[in-house]
């Protein structure tokens, strides 16, 4: 198998591009795809101070690496979620990446700073772990960006993530979520700008990028994600992609080009009456924001107790 660009031996095929790449040209492809995404969606401006949400996994570390390679001033934010050995290991990968490259990693620890971990929050709120985790992450990303005076929060959502979320939102006709499922959410009402520069890269590509760049990421999956709906949607989409390469790209980018705008009004409804949370000051539609409610509910829960995942959620 030869590199489509230079005819040197290839190390990876990317079927949706109908192309093969050597190391040099694959790394260049990844950087070019991210640079194009940033430009096309007007994600970042020169001089922006970027906060990259870091999990220690392939996507976030690839994103941080590429943004630095592209010349952006980017710090990392690691959230310790208290998910046992998984959190310990992911923190080590995030710290090692930052230390080896002389980058700044901001750390927030949910148990230490807010008195609960994700298993406890999940039990207290009677939410599935991914829901309590997502709520906490969104709040803490916004909070860290405000406190650190960052211009923008960048997350490692890739094409597979976005296609799977879109699949779920369409399946259940979540029109408000569809109206917000954009690669850029502009700054407004106290929320920082949020961008997803990896949406042109599939997760096989971000993993390959890390291997070829020598980035040591946490390969193990979060134990709480096992069996969740999101993984099921990915499995369904990958079955389609296997026989029709490019389907995920066409699904997601076709949505952005031809359908997302039709749902914009549905996404506005709950943002018209935002006010500061009585507890933490974050923008919210109620008296108290969802995160502070979660903190209060989880206050009586023991930390360090694994959640019962059940056979299937």
């Amino acid at each position: 198998m030869k590199c489509t660009v230079c005819r040197a031996p290839a190390v990876i095929d990317v079927r949706r591009h109908n192309a093969n790449f050597c190391v040099e040209h694959f790394l260049r492809l990844c950087r070019d795809q991210v640079a194009r995404t940033i430009k096309d969606f007007d994600m970042l401006a020169p001089g922006d101070h970027v906060l990259v949400a870091i999990s220690g996994g392939k996507d976030s570390l690839a994103l941080w690496d590429i943004l630095v390679e592209l010349g952006y001033e980017a710090d990392g934010l690691y959230l310790g979620l208290g998910i046992g050995d998984y959190s310990d290991s992911s923190a080590e990968h995030a710290r090692a990446f930052a230390t080896e490259r002389g980058l700044q990693l901001v750390e927030v620890d949910l148990p230490r700073d807010h008195g609960f971990d994700i298993p406890a929050g999940s039990r207290a709120a009677k939410r599935v772990p991914c829901s309590a985790c997502g709520l906490s992450k969104r709040h803490l990303f916004d909070d860290a960006a405000r406190k650190g005076s960052y211009d923008v929060v960048a997350t490692g959502h890739n094409l597979d993530d976005e296609a799977a979320v879109l699949f779920g939102n369409v399946l259940h006709w979540q029109s408000d979520y569809l109206g917000r499922q954009l690669p850029v959410l502009p700054e407004r009402d106290g929320f920082p700008r949020k961008v997803k520069p990896l949406v042109r890269l599939g997760e096989r590509e971000t993993a390959a990028y890390c291997v070829l760049r020598g980035i040591d990421y946490i390969v193990e999956e979060c134990p709480m994600a096992a069996g969740n709906k999101h993984l099921g949607y990915k499995e369904a989409l990958n079955a389609i992609e296997a026989t029709s390469p490019g389907s995920k790209h066409e699904f997601y980018f076709g949505f952005l080009a031809r359908a997302a705008g039709r749902f914009a009004a549905d996404a506005q409804g709950d943002r018209e009456h935002l006010r500061p949370c009585a507890s933490c000051g974050a923008p919210t539609t109620g008296e108290t924001c969802a995160f502070c409610k979660l903190v209060a509910r989880a206050a009586g829960e023991a930390v360090g107790v694994p959640v019962d995942l059940g056979p299937r959620r």
Partner: protein, 66 residues
């Protein structure tokens, strides 16, 4: 050859030589969901793996809905 797999972590012996695509088919693994790694680099689907190779089949699908 030694083939290292994850989720759960395990190692299986497979007779070589065999091409990467054929190895994945034999193990019933979709090529879109993994990388095949030998040493510190990737091996594409048409590469012939030797009987004394050690390879890792690394899943790339990750999870939370957040």
């Amino acid at each position: 050859m030694k083939v290292r797999l994850r989720n759960p972590k395990r190692e299986v012996d497979v007779d070589g030589p065999v091409r990467v695509h054929a190895l994945l088919e034999r193990l019933q693994i979709s090529r879109e969901t993994v990388l095949v790694i030998r040493g510190d680099t990737l091996v594409p689907g048409d590469v012939l793996l030797a009987d004394d190779d050690v390879v890792e089949i690394r899943p790339v699908i990750s999870g939370g809905a957040a």
